[in-house]
Assembly symmetry: C2
Homo-oligomer: 246 residues x 2
């Protein structure tokens, strides 16, 4: 399927809007993804309003796609709807715990990827914002997510106004294991990352950031230990506030 094989993240969009019918059709088809016990443990918040995009932007570290895309979608793990149904039907729900969060997050992420595939197949471009789980507390407040609802993914969507190069990927043999996990030897690591390290743009990154290795760009600049620990604390606190930590 060429739309998956040839895809690239799109961060610049034309001013063309996405009709509601098209958006809803794509979402409806995306909801055909596998879901635990057919419970559909997700909700999607559609942001089109400029003021709402402005509010969401800081939660996404001010990435410009949030305001420049015609549509921003926040996919949430949602056990609220199902729990309300149980309570209304004399059933005793028990979904206020970590495994239930993971189950609902899984449902939501499968739908997220399905939506991205369908959007791209229909000529749209998307950007996946990993920042959603860095500042979930802010997103919960802005989108007024009740207990048992937790944001897990944000996608900006629009018609592409750029055609960037496709990024590199690691060799298949570095990711796929036959029968058991074959742990990596130093030689394997060298070989798996050789192509990435040799790319001119990555050599350039190392040069302008004055690091010794490409890996240090990740550990010292982009995804730092201290940040991960601080974001883990926020994640934990937000899961607790949303009622998933019993």
């Amino acid at each position: 399927m060429n739309s998956i094989k040839n895809r690239r993240t799109i961060r610049k969009y034309t001013s063309q809007d996405i009709p509601n019918d098209l958006l809803n059709g794509l979402l409806e088809d995306a909801f055909r993804a596998s879901t635990m016990g057919n419970m559909q443990l997700y909700s999607v918040i559609v942001t089109r309003d400029a003021a709402m995009k402005e509010k969401l932007t800081p939660a996404h570290f001010n990435q410009p796609m949030v305001t420049s895309a015609p549509v921003v979608l926040t996919f949430c793990a949602d056990f609220n709807r199902f729990t309300k149904w149980c309570l209304q039907r004399k059933a005793n729900p028990g979904y206020d715990n970590p495994i239930s969060f993971l189950n609902a997050a899984t449902d939501a992420l499968l739908v997220t990827q399905n939506f991205c595939t369908l959007a791209e197949e229909n000529g749209l471009g998307i950007c996946y914002l990993g920042t959603t789980v860095y500042n979930p507390d802010q997103i919960v407040e802005i989108l007024r997510l009740p207990k048992l609802v937790m944001p897990v993914a944000t996608i900006t969507v629009g018609y592409p106004d750029e055609q960037p190069e496709q990024p590199d990927r690691l060799p298949l043999s570095g990711i796929v294991h036959e029968e058991i996990y074959h742990d990596y030897t130093p030689d394997m690591i060298d070989s798996i990352y050789a192509h990435k390290e040799a790319l001119p743009e990555n050599k350039h990154f190392v040069e302008i950031n004055h690091t010794e290795t490409l890996a240090q760009i990740f550990t010292d600049i982009r995804y730092k230990k201290a940040d991960n620990e601080s974001m883990s604390a926020t994640l934990h606190a937000t899961l607790k506030a949303q009622g998933f930590e019993k």
Copy 2:
């Protein structure tokens, strides 16, 4: 895209095997999914060996697809490979924490759904096994997953030997929210679940299980509070053992 719109889970497979080239091609294309900072935080374990399938079956509550499918794929959140690369390149990794698990699980789940779409587009059928996160400790042991690797999804794959009915889905309006989350009133809950509750097969479930409501089938039989709490404890212990709880 009709292969997504018309999909259904396939639990019965013909004896036809899946050629390695086809499987690897689908996986390679699936790895085009969005990935955090292009780190590709996942590994895939391919199970074809009958003895390995037998070993995995109890972890999946003896679901017959595990032994009857030609291929079983276990998708794992993997920060081991990346961390080894960092250590080998004088970089100080900090990915032994909950946010890093969630980031890697997200990467792995996007790839999982991409693989399912590509497999179905190529005439294969898949079944998503949610049991992976119920007994992750058993899977870690059988597949010999090292620290910073955690199984998050299992897919059985093969050529379909059945064409089941498509299951119901909730109405779109019950899942999609405009601008902010509009919490559900009792009337909305009634309306959202009306179709599901009226389905003859669901009325039949209620009858043969002697429950008063369909919701009770979920809370009292399929996804019980006590089970969720016990599985949450296993999840937590396994994440800790795999090094994601610092």
